[in-house]
Symmetry: C3
Subunit: 138 residues, 3 copies
């Protein structure tokens, strides 16, 4: 069995955001009991990750760390057509990745207690983002 649905996320401000509530209800809808859920973002300046879902300071530390790791206005960057956040957003998206996947068991996401799904918005004005959820299993 395969379930696939495009999800249009609302615009988020630059930073890291837990989006579980946009995704988990679709697991129930899929009616798949055992398998893997694959979530893919159709953009190159935002990314997905799975990390700590409870403490907002984690997401603040993430944003600051990744801004220092991939600085805007790095002198040698050539690809700055859309502003100083352009090339850093591409690099951050490759470091974090364009997809996450996680096991499904008894129709639910088999995550650890403290795990949630992050939308990582790397642009100042990224706008609405499209993600594709594909669940396969039985």
């Amino acid at each position: 069995m395969v379930f696939q649905q495009v999800v249009i996320l609302p615009p988020f401000e630059r930073g890291f955001h837990v989006i579980d509530h946009h995704i988990f209800p679709l697991l129930t809808k899929s009616n798949i009991q055992y398998g893997v859920a694959h979530l893919f973002i159709q953009h190159t300046s935002a990314s997905l990750s799975i990390n700590e879902n409870a403490d907002p300071t984690v997401r603040l530390d993430y944003e600051r760390f990744f801004n220092e790791l991939v600085p805007e206005n790095t002198p040698y960057f050539l690809h700055n057509y859309e502003g100083s956040d352009d090339m850093p957003a591409h690099i951050k998206s490759s470091l974090l990745g364009s997809s996450v996947s996680f096991p499904v068991s008894k129709g639910k996401a088999l995550l650890g207690t403290w795990q949630g799904i992050y939308l990582c918005e790397h642009r100042n004005h990224g706008g609405s983002r499209k993600v594709v959820l594909t669940i396969y299993g039985e």
Copy 2:
């Protein structure tokens, strides 16, 4: 066909560890010949990666590199409730990822000769870790 099993790994010390022998016997047990194996770690302060399986110095270099990339006691980190290794562990786990997946062919992991599965333990005292193996195919 879907095969799914939770694997409880013994505690590993902080660092990078090849865990092939904990995972590969389950491929035989699954009886799936062709497909993909998906391994997911249910924690936010340890991660999984696939890399060089033969030379222990690679794993030492990894540990030192990631410690320098994400330093403990970074002044702006807010999330340090569980010690100086707390926030760095979260960031390392997102950089490396909470899952790996690899092809299965003729009932075996279709890895390259030098590839092995790493458990990346980012905490000083991480304890036992749970991973979920899901194999799907035919």
Copy 3:
């Protein structure tokens, strides 16, 4: 349904390269309409990523950024048997990852307009690289 094929890529020079034309024709061949395509590289000194497919300056900025992030001749690296690009190549491959996966819809890769698949060649003379494409779905 499962489709699996090993693809032997021609040698690429060190850097980041769009390889869509090596992969996408196989989606048609697989005859799978809905599911996920999983691409895995069987090496520990090259990696895969999904990023911007149009502007060559992005790939130049990537190469320079990752060279600065993981410098050759880092004094504490122990694993340098094959040259100064040896250990940096392993680390880059874990940061970027040994696999990418993306949704398949109506028999085609459901990527965003600007997304392409990168082969990230981290060695000076990596030679030909083997990737395994596995598509599963219906």
